[in-house]
């Protein structure tokens, strides 16, 4: 029957009362609210710059690569070294970390010797992913009198390793321990160091993992990581000799790339995966809901039009429906995406363009039944136009089915887009969970057992899907009662 405003309010209250009884619906609703809140509050939870710079490798260079989340420590007896960045800037006393000391050692005619010492107190079992040492110097332009430096590493056990000897500083230094070669490959230096304690004949420098050796006690098995961790104060000292009077140290940085990072670890680019997951929520919701709403409403109106019109129109519309229904969506979607590289909005439209036929068929049979109802005949006898009858009598009765269908279509849409992104064909600017999984697959995350990269995105896809399935299920039970319980 047709409905007025106050009848709507009454129906709504009734509906809510019935809905509350569906436990699964309430669960779905709760999950949905949480997801929406997280999506909207994303800029507060995670640094929004992360999203803008997601594809910029440069931005993530200080983060460890392939680092697991830090809570894995709870399940292991070993402690993981956390992420730390120590900065010292000459012109800003507020940005001078106590761990970095820049000291003038000796000054003479035409030269000045500075010690830049960086202190790292290592208290853990699993050494950092990497340590980056950066030294920025102001050098007189066009002068060939470059500063010269040595670099020493002092270990807690008193051992001193010379990592660089009389190197000319033609550019600023940005070197990380895992691949450090300031005149000499760090691995050869470490091999030499180890030879004092173990037999190193036949050992190739390329097999040595610098961070493992540096942070382990010296002794038998030190090259294989079999010795216990060496905890204590480590000092990296740059001894710089300036021969150009105006030269000085401008900035020094020591980046400790943690062996663990954040809530969900990092990927091969060092990107914070927790941030990625959070950013993906809004896309999942947008894609799912928008696609479903468009395709369901298209389907409903198509079905009603076809059913109500009847005759040849109905036949023709149903033939078209059959054609679209029989087209394989995913292969065509993949094809289209490969050729045109569409934005996410085009993908949504494409998905919606294939999602309506099933809905149309059901709605059409509803319309066929409804148009035989007596009140429709009565309305026609009173001179109501076709449009009026459709909108006042038929459409409202298809709404319950429509709403349940919207909820139930969301998971399919999300899965389709996720599949597309996984293949690398999604919108490259949108940080979706499918894209994260695509990156994981490209970086062989499965092969390398980087479970924190592979598990969360898929779980989130499933979670959002489940949310809408719960909702749709409950909606279906309340709005389309069958005598089944």
């Amino acid at each position: 029957m047709s409905v007025t405003m106050s009848e709507w309010a009454y129906k709504l209250r009734n509906f809510w009362r019935e809905f509350k009884r569906q436990k699964i619906g309430l669960l779905g609703l709760a999950l949905l609210i949480i997801l929406v809140v997280l999506a909207v509050a994303a800029p507060l939870i995670v640094n929004p710059d992360y999203e803008k710079n997601w594809n910029l490798a440069e931005y993530w260079k200080d983060n460890p690569i392939d680092a697991p989340p830090c809570w894995v420590q709870i399940f292991s007896s070993k402690k993981y070294a956390p992420q730390r960045v120590y900065v010292w800037m000459s012109n800003d006393t507020r940005k001078q970390s106590p761990n970095i000391k820049v000291v003038l050692v000796k000054k003479g005619r035409g030269y000045a010797i500075y010690n830049v010492s960086m202190h790292y107190n290592y208290l853990w079992d699993v050494p950092p992913n990497n340590i980056k040492l950066e030294l920025y110097v102001r050098h007189k332009t066009n002068s060939t009198k470059y500063p010269v430096f040595d670099l020493y590493l002092t270990r807690p056990d008193g051992a001193v390793l010379k990592l660089a000897n009389r190197q000319s500083m033609t550019t600023n230094i940005t070197s990380s321990l895992s691949s450090m070669n300031l005149g000499r490959d760090i691995r050869s230096i470490l091999l030499e160091f180890a030879s004092h304690y173990v037999n190193t004949t036949g050992v190739q420098p390329s097999t040595i993992k610098p961070l493992q050796v540096i942070f382990s006690k010296a002794g038998k098995g030190m090259l294989a990581g079999k010795t216990p961790p060496l905890k204590g104060e480590y000092t990296f000292t740059f001894k710089i000799i300036f021969t150009e009077p105006s030269d000085k140290v401008v900035e020094a940085r020591m980046v400790i790339m943690g062996s663990c990072y954040g809530l969900l670890g990092t990927d091969a680019l060092g990107r914070d995966l927790f941030a990625g997951i959070i950013f993906g929520i809004k896309w999942a919701l947008i894609i799912g809901v928008l696609t479903s709403v468009i395709s369901v409403f298209t389907g409903v109106f198509y079905g009603i039009a076809s059913g109500y019109a009847g005759g040849w129109t109905d036949e023709a519309l149903m033939r078209l429906d059959q054609v679209v229904y029989s087209m394989p969506v995913l292969p065509l979607l993949i094809l289209m995406a490969a050729i045109w590289r569409p934005s996410i909005w085009l993908i949504i439209l494409f998905l919606a363009a294939f999602g309506w036929p099933g809905i149309a068929i059901v709605t059409r049979s509803m319309a066929l039944q409804l148009k035989e109802e007596l009140y429709v005949e009565a309305a026609k006898a009173m001179g109501a136009s076709g449009w009026r009858i459709v909108f006042r009598y038929i459409v409202p009765q298809t709404m319950p089915y429509a709403f349940a269908s919207i909820a139930l279509s969301v998971p399919g849409a999300i899965l389709a887009e996720a599949g597309l992104s996984y293949l690398g064909l999604g919108d490259p600017l949108a940080v979706t969970w499918g894209k994260i999984l695509h990156d994981a697959s490209m970086a062989n995350a499965v092969l390398n057992n980087l479970w924190w990269w592979v598990l969360p995105p898929g779980l989130m896809i499933a979670l959002v899907g489940l949310t809408f399935v719960f909702l749709g299920n409950a909606l279906d039970r309340v709005l389309n009662p069958r005598l089944q319980r």
């Binding site: 029989s326 292969p331 293949l423 995105p457």
Partner: protein
């Protein structure tokens, strides 16, 4: 209506759909294929050596243009657009798809697109048909059990599993399977395309079969695992709906053994919608086959499609699309027909 007439209606419908889709895809593709051909011709012409008689640059240029035109004509690029579309369509219907640039078929390494597809198709069918059969068997069994014990633990578990399977990406579950069973535990291989290498060393047909099973196990388990929940749930709903019908009680009143009532009357009446569901299930998993096969490296149609897209092999893409649509449409037609067989209300009266 009669069975024959019903069947012919299905077939005609299917053909119409096939032609329409073929037309749409071909129209879209002709443009792309043309561009490729033009580029290939440009390259070929650029390599050509002009005859010694021509000296000036202008003359050489003119000669090259002429050569290009000759080649254009030969490849049919000068004909009007729609004529070419039609030409491609006819080719497709004759199953002549031309040759690939770099890709080759799995067994015989042939470049003919029809061979490439022909050798990949059975693999896809084996994997997904086997999986679907297993899913149907498990699904009907569990679905009926759940319907008879409605509201109890089994029933609720199945409902939840169904919801889960509607939300889980099949290919992601595949990734997890690989992570656990292939890389961590080393029980199964990680790249199924290696099966062709393995069977070359197979001494007899049984060993070859064993190899196939070895490579197929993980993808098979993945597909079944993700699909059975949904199937069982819909079976449960259908069966439950039928069980509440009056004729079920009537059958019991007639003193028929319970087995006859459940399988003879309930399941039999429920079979038409279950068949429809199977159709949708197969089509659903086939549609996602591309991604699932890519994850496992399974040498089927999906993987061929994917590689073709990456390598820009237009001929292969066109051929694959045609065959895929044909399969889809044929499956739907077949299942509509089976529905008609099972439900007398459709074909008679």
């Amino acid at each position: 209506m009669g069975l024959a007439r019903f069947a012919s209606v299905q077939i005609i419908n299917a053909l119409i759909v096939l032609l329409v889709v073929l037309f749409i895809v071909t129209a879209l593709f002709t443009n792309l294929a043309d561009q490729e051909k033009k580029a290939a011709i440009e390259e070929a012409v650029a390599q050509m050596k002009p005859p010694a008689s021509l000296k000036t640059k202008a003359e050489i240029q003119k000669w090259k243009e002429e050569q290009k035109q000759i080649l254009y004509e030969r490849e049919g690029l000068t004909k009007p657009y729609w004529q070419r579309v039609f030409g491609y369509m006819v080719d497709a219907l004759e199953l002549n798809f031309g040759e690939a640039n770099h890709m080759a078929s799995f067994k015989t390494q042939s470049k003919k697109v029809s061979r490439i597809i022909l050798e990949a198709l059975p693999n896809t069918i084996i994997l997904f048909t086997t999986a679907t059969l297993i899913v149907i068997a498990i699904g009907i069994y569990l679905g009926m059990k759940a319907a008879r014990a409605a509201g109890k633990l089994l029933d609720r578990t199945i409902s939840f599993l169904a919801m889960l399977s509607a939300s889980l990406p099949m290919w992601w579950v595949g990734m997890l399977m690989l992570l656990l069973f292939s890389y961590k535990l080393n029980w199964f291989p990680s790249n199924a395309i290696d099966v062709y290498v393995a069977i070359r060393h197979a001494s007899n047909i049984l060993v070859e079969l064993k190899d196939w099973i070895y490579y197929m196990t993980l993808p098979l388990i993945t597909v079944v695992l993700v699909s059975f929940g949904g199937f069982a749930y819909v079976t449960r709903n259908i069966v439950l709906g039928v069980m509440n019908e009056d004729f079920v009680m009537a059958a019991r009143a007639k003193g028929l053994p319970e087995r006859k009532v459940i399988y003879g009357h309930v399941l039999r009446t429920a079979s038409p919608p279950i068949v429809t569901m199977s159709a949708l299930s197969i089509i659903g998993s086939l549609g996602g086959a591309i991604i699932t096969e890519t994850v496992f490296g399974w040498p089927g149609m999906g993987r061929v499609y994917w590689v073709a897209i990456q390598e820009n092999e237009t001929a292969v893409i066109l051929g694959e699309t045609f065959v895929t649509v044909f399969l889809f449409v044929a499956t739907i037609a077949l299942l509509n027909f089976i529905y008609g067989l099972l439900d007398p209300r459709v074909k008679v009266g």
